[in-house]
Symmetry: C2
Subunit: 404 residues, 2 copies
């Protein structure tokens, strides 16, 4: 299992491209991405739990019901959600890909991200298709990763290489995140490709299982988007025996998927809107997994704690407070809290009460870009990890006037 370069084009047989077609006014910002597999692929997806679901998601639920897909089209700049003709536009996007590539329209996954509630004009997308398909390339991952960005400040790509039954397999992913990210949704937009051969139902099982501990444990601002989705296309070109059951190969596949998604989670949280710090909250000692998860998520979601981390303030009372209102059943007199970064580790609370610590040392630790919040809630054996970011002036600035 090793990290490699190449993003979504690391796996055999996947081309990608990204162009500026004109949905965005800013001509330097790409706004349309395409991913194409050389051959039909197994496909799986998970979607936002928001009752308000973007039109593209509603269409995908239909198109992916056969567990097959061969392409992904995604625009940024407009979410194609809460408008009158969203489904029709989403269908037209799939049809345009079909006309340009010969792939059946119902084998195209469609996604949109951006402002909610404004009609999406198909014209720039239609006009941009020629360039989009002409640019398709086995080195196009970063173009696609760039084209799906909204308020993201960096493109997010990762790839991993692993072996199944002597065959080298690769898996890559791109993500757009930044704001409106909260546990318990499918998550932000993530597109994953792999050349590993796996049956659609096993692919869905792998994805649905993985997100519980990865994308569902990320929070930027507590808001859950209407358009979040994670899809995986597995085209089988690595030549391994198709994974059709929960055997050892499946375990290796799950491990690869998890390596990929944890990396994407950290990238998404660290690039949260306005974020200056990546926060990783690890809760151990819980009596069950759910308790550990509830505690970790509550801490990572606390506006007060997030603001304290921005200020590099070791205000651990807010950690206890967040656990206290989380709804988790824990004995607060058994809670220990430490802060950790590249500069060291410092314990600030033991058995639910403050312990003397060096404010100077705490400041030094908390001024780093990646902070671990380590919490022990008792003597149980269950643990959980959640990822988030600090709350900053820039979060307010970005979201105070997003549409204009």
């Amino acid at each position: 299992m090793k990290l490699i370069s190449g993003g979504i084009c690391a796996a055999k047989g996947f081309k990608a491209s990204g162009v500026h077609c004109g949905i965005r006014k800013n001509r330097t910002k790409k706004d349309l991405a395409l991913i194409v597999s050389d051959v039909p692929a197994s496909a799986a997806a998970v979607y936002t739990t928001n009752l308000v679901k973007g039109a593209p998601l509603l269409l995908n639920m239909r198109n992916l019901s056969d567990g097959k897909a061969q392409a992904v089209i995604c625009n940024s700049g407009n979410a194609n959600t809460c408008n009158a003709n969203g489904i029709q536009i989403a269908k037209e996007m799939c049809k345009l890909v079909s006309e340009a590539t010969g792939i059946p329209a119902n084998d195209v996954v469609v996604a949109s991200t951006g402002v909610i509630g404004q009609p999406l004009d198909i014209t720039p997308i239609a006009d941009g298709m020629a360039e989009l398909t002409a640019n398709l390339s086995y080195e196009g991952s970063n173009d696609a990763a760039t084209a799906i960005m909204t308020t993201d400040t960096v493109s997010k790509e990762v790839a991993v290489e692993f072996e199944i039954n002597g065959k080298v397999c690769r898996m890559g992913g791109i993500a757009k995140g930044s704001g409106m990210i909260h546990p318990n949704m499918a998550t932000m937009l993530v597109f994953i490709t792999t050349d590993c051969a796996i049956a659609p139902d096993m692919l869905q099982k792998a994805l649905s299982g993985d997100i519980k501990n990865t994308f569902n444990m990320v929070s930027v601002d507590g808001d859950t988007s209407t358009n979040d989705m994670v899809t995986v296309l597995a085209n089988g070109m690595a030549g391994n025996e198709v994974i059709t059951e929960e055997n050892q190969d499946f375990t290796v596949f799950m491990k690869a998927l998890n390596t990929l998604t944890v990396n994407l989670c950290r990238m998404i949280a660290g690039d949260g809107e306005g974020a200056t710090k990546l926060l990783e909250c690890v809760v151990t000692g819980a009596d069950d997994e759910e308790t550990a998860k509830i505690c970790a998520k509550s801490v990572i979601c606390s506006s007060l704690l997030k603001a304290a981390m921005f200020g590099a303030d070791a205000n651990w009372g807010r950690v206890l407070c967040a656990i206290g209102y989380s709804g988790a059943s824990v004995d607060v007199t058994k809670i220990d809290v430490s802060f950790k970064s590249n500069k060291g580790i410092i314990t600030v609370c033991q058995n639910g009460a403050g312990v003397p610590f060096s404010e100077e040392k705490a400041k030094e630790i908390l001024l780093e870009k990646e902070i671990d919040i380590l919490i022990s809630v008792g003597e149980g054996e269950f643990s959980a990890t959640a990822w988030g970011c600090d709350l900053t002036y820039d979060y307010v600035k970005i979201n105070g006037d997003y549409r204009t």
Copy 2:
């Protein structure tokens, strides 16, 4: 039912005072408040639902079990929570009041607000008692209201006059709020006094019933404090027949209490940490009350919507989004959204989709200091109101370095 001046001293027989005793370093900021009734009073209280409860609250739960109290002492600057000897310090605070006033220690309500996890030194409180009791006055409401402030920018007082069976009754309240305020807790600190005669169990019933639609519907930042409490002291000096059952008098009493608490809710939300705007979200048309409440709270808690309101941006998609992830069971294709202020009203969404509107007019409406977000979710008859505030740079600033 009319609003009057006088705060917690509006009702007969209540004195109050507030001094700087030295818990805070800043000598111009009062940090210790006292409220005393001339005679023993019926008492009721509701407390935070946070598992981590401040030491003062734990003591009050014991002391108020007999439904009686005669005084309230409250310090700001230190929450007396998550430290080794909190209960002991809380007891000593009650004992100091007892020694200075002759009121039994277990008839003293005690409260603390400020930083969590630091030992509270009894010395300045003991040293300040002489001045605190010497300053007790029937015009002391604002001194007490000022002394309980933390990051509040204005003191919060309100009083109301009503008639029960021909007797004029008065009720007054002071509050400290500002940050760490979230639905479903007892709430921030609120002290209410009345000269109305009411039995302890009916007083508790009135308070517990009222907060469900008032303090539990306020959110500033989604964080629930460890020290929140609302108490009411009713000393009976108005001379009305004691309210002992749910009769017409009780209805009038509930109405008075609600008038008082709604006013305090608006003050607390409008003075949320860093807030520039008071937001009132009214949800109508729901099939049941719970659905209306869930929708209203989810909208008022959305960081994205709060940031949009700060920017006077009519980004109604975020309203729909917040309803969508709230967990409420509503038909999103039936949702209407309007924004309203002193400058007028504008409808931005009908039947779940955007309608054309003047951005200029929307901006004019949203630039006001008090914004109503009006949402209809269907044809049902239930409604709910929630109060909150915008999310601003100053929220981050205030909480990025609260302890120093």
